[in-house]
């Protein structure tokens, strides 16, 4: 146990020291690790503008929530010394929440496994690099894990409050309301193998109402910070209207660069609805295990959201550690792993080739984002079918499982 603690301490200390390395400052510019909505430089720009009397929401640079503006101007001032500590604190919050989720789910106090999970969360390159790039996607990940952890413990108000904070940072998190509420009501225990129906749907309404109240209060807070109601159009509206077409590892930007304005509203609606449409069916299908539903929905949102980063894929992959019961039924783990390896190597390469060197063009990078989407898609679908397969039980000898 002491070795575990020592190992964890070493890990955290090494991670903290790594964050101060000056060569890592170039990561802040990387488009894969931070999108226009999560970029650290834009956050600094917004804080600077605010503190010099200019409303940061009048331009198109700053798209973070006013809550972050307030928090990082006053309570947690950002500088070259304090920022790595703040980001490490959020990472540790996420790691602790992850361990809590696992503990709630399996009820086994397996400390080795806890350590492995925490280490994996801190060392997962998708999330490590995003955190070293000081992308606010790390904060979003930490908040989603925190909301899930509170929901697993049954602390409904804390969970919904964390979810409300997360919604203010990243609007697609509103899609997590249904699974998190189900998780609060149902509990986190693994019942993939023994699916039973859920009957108290009406109990969801007070939870969703409470969540809405929290979002409302935080919106009032944000409006008082920003001094007006123009901020939702710039922050949440960015998810719906896609004003900034900076290339990112997502699927939206390329499509909308070549979109005629006449068709833009239709396709924006189509893409948004596509992202939202999976929530209710998945929650219904996995009503016996809402944590798994939340997991799959996190993956889908990470795949289909307007401005994804590598941190979203990283969260999905890390959370796979919470569901060991599906490992034996995963059919394409190697393909998924190789696709992720492939895309994680190609994405920065083609980005540089296109935008720095000029020897490639946008199609190279777009192709690598398609591979990345394929990797995510494979991961989600594999996990999904494995989750369903668990419910069918082990195959007896002499019997075959056939899909009809």
């Amino acid at each position: 146990m002491f070795l575990r603690r020592l190992g964890l301490g070493t890990l955290v200390a090494a991670r903290l020291l790594l964050a101060y390395h000056p060569a890592l400052l170039h990561l802040q510019d990387d488009a894969q690790l931070s999108s226009p909505l999560t970029s650290y430089k834009r956050l600094l720009e917004g804080i600077f503008l605010f503190q010099n009397g200019v409303d940061p929401y009048t331009g198109g640079t700053f798209r973070h929530s006013p809550l972050l503006l307030a928090l990082f101007s006053t309570a947690f001032p950002l500088s070259s010394t304090t920022t790595p500590i703040i980001w490490l604190a959020f990472d540790l919050l996420g790691a602790v929440s992850l361990a809590k989720i696992y503990h709630s789910r399996t009820q086994a106090r397996d400390r080795n496994r806890n350590f492995v999970l925490v280490a994996f969360y801190l060392l997962n390159p998708y999330q490590l690099l995003a955190s070293l790039a000081r992308s606010t996607a790390s904060i979003e990940n930490a908040l989603s894990l925190l909301a899930s952890a509170f929901a697993c413990s049954g602390k409904s108000s804390y969970a919904l409050l964390a979810l409300a904070f997360l919604t203010h940072l990243s609007m697609p998190a509103v899609l997590l309301t249904l699974p998190i509420s189900l998780l609060i009501l149902r509990g986190p225990h693994s019942s993939l193998a023994t699916p039973t129906a859920f009957h108290s749907w009406s109990k969801l309404i007070p939870l969703i109402a409470e969540y809405s109240i929290y979002v409302g209060i935080l919106s009032i807070t944000a409006s008082s910070i920003a001094g007006g109601v123009h901020w939702p159009y710039k922050t949440w509206g960015a998810f719906l209207t896609l004003p900034d077409l900076t290339p990112n590892p997502g699927l939206w930007w390329y499509f909308f660069t070549e979109m005629f304005d006449h068709f833009r509203p239709f396709f924006l609606a189509a893409f948004s609805i596509h992202m939202a449409i999976y929530v209710v069916p998945l929650s219904l299908k996995f009503q016996h295990d809402p944590l798994f539903a939340a997991y799959i929905i996190l993956g889908i949102v990470g795949l289909l959201k307007p401005y994804p980063t590598l941190a979203d894929a990283g969260l999905f992959l890390t959370l796979l550690g919470v569901f060991p019961e599906i490992y034996q039924y995963l059919r394409t783990p190697i393909v998924t792993a190789l696709l992720h390896l492939h895309s994680s190597l190609l994405l920065p390469l083609f980005h540089k080739l296109w935008l720095s060197q000029g020897t490639g063009n946008a199609n190279f990078f777009y192709a690598s984002t398609l591979v990345f989407a394929l990797a995510n898609g494979f991961a989600i679908l594999d996990a999904l079918q494995a989750g369903l397969r668990v419910g069918l039980g082990t195959r007896p000898d002499g019997w075959e499982l056939v899909q009809i």
Binding site: P22, L25, H26, Q28, D29, K41, L44, I47, F48, F50, Q51, N52, G53, V54, D55, P66, L67, L69, A70, L71, S73, T74, A75, P77, L78, S79, S80, T82, T83, K155, S156, S157, Y158, L161, Y214, I217, L218, I220, T221, A222, S224, I225, A226, G227
Partner: protein, 386 residues
Amino acid sequence: MGAFQGVVRQLMLRLPSCLLALLLAFLAVGQQTNPVDEFFARTSSTHTNNWAVLVCASRYWFNYRHMANALGMYRTVKRLGIPDSNIILMLADDVACNTRNKFPGSVYANQGRRLDLYGDNIEVDYRGYEVTVENFIRLLTGRVEDSVPRSKRLLTDERSNVFVYMTGHGGNEFLKFQDNEEISAFDIADAFEQMWQKKRYNELFFMIDTCQANTMYSKFYSPNILATGSSMLDENSYSHENDADIGVAVIDKFTHHVLSYLEGINKTSKANFKDFFETYNFETIRSHAGVRSDLFDRKLEDTLLTDFFGGVAQVEVMDIPPNPSVQEPLVKSDQKLAQGVDDAFSSSIPRQSLSPVNPPGMSGWRLWLGCALMVGLVLVVGVFRG
């Protein structure tokens, strides 16, 4: 009554001196120089922006050198600071991708093919069959159709210095356009006069590299025009060198001389036109290059090359005036601002911790209120629903 009269007399005696004092005071106040005039009086130039019109009036492969002339001038003028938006480049543009070009997509102006003038970053505004006399005169005079895009208009104003460069085949008071038509010296002179009447230039520098070029500027009659040409009446202008692999002449002597001279200066150069014109010599150019400066009222030794060839703006960086409503000491806030600007232009290291200054627009109390509200919400939820 007597006392009153005494006072009035005193006033009358003192009145002239009072009036004189008042007049002197007014004069003294009026003598305070206008800082704007002071700023413009630093150099003898009176322009605020620069434009360049570079015309290559020939087409076909064997006139490669005229294309190279114009492209070389384009590169130099861009290097010295005139942006593409202020350059009108008129080329037939048929040599770079000509089937006879051994180096497709490239245009070179020297024998060893050391510098590609074509590249992938040039903007040709009038190309191919659009280079006509009518388009050229419409461009200069501004009498273009509504459908002509901005990039093809000469959007000069009365403070613009315009550099007009023309190259091609010419003769006594004419220049051949695209093997098809001619423009005469009278046409150009009238076009410049229209520009002057419409206040479309502050000063104009006309350079022409053709046979019998000096005749082309002999007919100008508008003020503030400086002109130079490559050869006199009955004299040819010669090409400078051939490239063995391209197979044709790649640059003309006069333009080569001009470009070599300009290659030695940069945007900060104080080289003037007098020195530049004194470098003209028959031995290297093999023709008598001429200068016409009688219409130009500034002294040539005061006129900088960058007044026409470059896009150098007169800039003075002023200190940001201190804001009276700022509560913190002024020095500290200026330092923070300056430091912020420095950091923005240096590496990605974020600024030191900003203490909340009270700016006149957005107030710092909002931030603390927001933080307080967030913390309050968490506490309330914790207490009542935890």
